[in-house]
Amino acid sequence: MGIEAIEKRQGAALVLPALLWTVAFFVLPFAAMVWISLGHLDGREMVPGPDLGNYLRIFTEPALSRGIWVSLQITLIVTVISVALAWPLAWIIATRVPPRWRRLALLLAVLPFWTSYVVRSYSWALVLGQKGVVMTALVGLGLLDAPVQIMATRAATVIGFVHFFVMLLTLTIYSNLVQLSPNYARAAEDLGASRFQVIRLVILPLTLPGVMTGAFLTFVLCIGDYITPQILGGNNELTLPQLIMLQLGRRGDYPMASALSVVLMALVTLAYAACARWLKMERV
């Protein structure tokens, strides 16, 4: 046996555990979920498929299909706002905060991760309420005549999400920024670029991989989240995870819950493909 063949066998042997792990804990459960999604509920009993009835319902019944659009809209809004807030924050921490204070700044940035997700969401419910801190302050300062409703709206859901994901994005963008050599900016300035041009034409494109990684993570975590829209959205519109929970908790309709989950995974896969193909995430 030649050295090349031996190396190939060694490589296969090294990959095998990870491959088996993926097959056992992802491929097989996913295949089971797809198979269940092709069944349907007859009365209160599950009938195995295959039929595409659940998928047909998802795309033809307004109450279900709207869940896809609501999820996509909220996720895209959250991702864009989070990136817009996180990039300047990461840039300030990486370039303007003195090195000895950076660790503290990062620590403060990740503090929200230390609290329970559910507790944080209920805290936002209190803050955003008509008698909460925000409305009391705005009315007290004379900026509003009367409290406006934020709690139990899409805005509350977006605020709850953004609070969490800005921190996540800040970390991914910061890790990208600190790896950049300062010589890029110096070279651009030597060639006559203004400070703003340096950021826009040099620094920002170079941090695109970090931005895209964070944006993709934000997309995945946001579109699959149940807690925040459930607590802050007031059930005034339903996202895909909320629809999935309704099928599981109330109806015991595992086929429909599985079909909705497959649609959710398809959306995530499309998002990954877009990030990898057009937005240079593969460079990370």
């Binding site: 279900l64 419910a125 309420g129 409703q149 139990a152 059930n235 005034n236 519109e237 339903l238 015991g252």
Partner: protein, 349 residues
């Protein structure tokens, strides 16, 4: 050295002995049964440990049972109107009806038709209450709450929360249209669609128990459709203005039952637990559980409750309330699916 070894061995045995002897009872419950104040007297009296797992909604409970091994669970708390569903699946063991304390019950909540199948008793009612209208009387005129029509009048638009459970709320909306809960069929669902959507439009939120309590307690909303003593009683000490009533059109009676599971490996102990829960002491503790309050099914629990607790539970008004309340809808599978579809459509509208 030998003495030290002997002492150590004795200490290890002494430490292990209670653990080895302690029996465990596994209970699939609603959150009110997880209160240590309820479980401790039984655990001490029988030298056992009660392990609990909370669930919400009969479908979730039945799913847990079907995904467990036979014998994993000994007792189960279940919505009284869903006992037949569990019996149909062969999950419940018959109970010795003569040994149950139902003779001491409020007669309306014995609910023999719901707790028995073909004359065999499979469960006993343990607690009940009402899904009706809860409100903050400091912000709402209590007179307005005497009719469900107020909800659709526009007076309280944006100040209403709806409890996120389709069965009682669709039942209440049915009552507002003069439809009895037992008559909620496909045709009736068409009739309640418009008022249900109007109620959603007038509401600020449709929320679960905790979010509804938070909204009512913080003044985010002033009226909760579907609420009742089970939701306001635990907040009464903090805010005595939180109140509830049964309007002229009526309210819905909720009732929870307790049953022994057919595959239990400790049926005698499980039966003892059922007897304890339905005894006056167990009933009083269950009625005032830290998770939520509700009326005890056993009248004799009244002797164990103080005047304040009875006032919060509206003990003296139960005869009138029971006369005016209707049971939860008990839809067949097709109607249940239609009711849930309507609920999803309402939420997404």
């Amino acid at each position: 050295m030998r003495l030290t070894t002997s002492c150590a061995a004795a200490a290890v045995l002494a430490a292990l002995a209670p653990t080895a002897q302690a029996e465990e009872l596994n209970a699939l419950i609603w959150c009110d049964h997880a209160d240590p104040a309820l479980l401790e007297p039984f655990e001490k009296a029988h030298g056992v440990k009660v392990n609990t797992k909370e669930y919400e909604g009969t479908a979730a409970g039945l799913t847990i049972l079907e995904q467990s091994r036979p014998g994993d669970w000994d007792v189960m708390v279940i919505d009284a109107v869903d006992v037949h569903r569990a019996v149909e699946r062969g999950l419940l063991a018959p109970l010795p009806a003569a040994e149950m304390a139902t003779a001491d019950y409020f007669p309306q909540v014995v609910m023999a038709a719901n707790n028995s199948v073909d004359g065999v008793t499979y469960a006993v009612t343990e607690k009940f209450g009402y899904n009706t209208i809860a409100f903050n009387k400091a912000a709402v005129d209590p007179e307005d709450m005497k009719s469900l029509k107020t909800l659709f009048s526009g007076k309280y638009d944006g100040r209403i929360a709806v409890y996120d459970y389709y069965l009682p709320v669709e039942g209440i909306v049915g009552l507002s249209q003069g439809i009895a809960t037992r008559d909620l069929d496909a045709a009736a669902l068409e009739r309640i669609k418009a008022p249900l959507f109007a109620l959603k439009a007038a509401s600020k939120q449709v929320s679960d128990v905790v979010a509804s309590q938070t909204a009512l307690a913080t003044g985010e909303v002033d009226v909760l459709v579907g609420g009742g003593e089970w939701l306001t009683a635990v907040l009464h000490a903090e805010n005595p203005d939180l109140d509830w009533t049964i309007p002229a059109e009526g309210g819905l009676l909720w009732a929870q039952s307790i049953a022994v599971l057919k595959d239990s490996k400790k049926p005698e102990l499980a039966l003892e637990f059922v007897k304890y829960i339905t005894s006056p002491e167990g009933q009083a503790r269950l009625a005032t559980s830290s998770c939520y309050w509700g009326m005890p099914a056993n009248r004799k629990a009244g002797a164990q409750l103080d005047a304040d607790q009875k006032a919060v539970l509206r003990w003296d008004e139960q005869d009138d309330y029971l006369a005016r309340a209707q049971l939860y809808p008990v839809p067949d599978a097709a109607t249940d699916a239609a009711m849930q579809d309507l609920w999803t459509e309402m939420l997404q509208n």
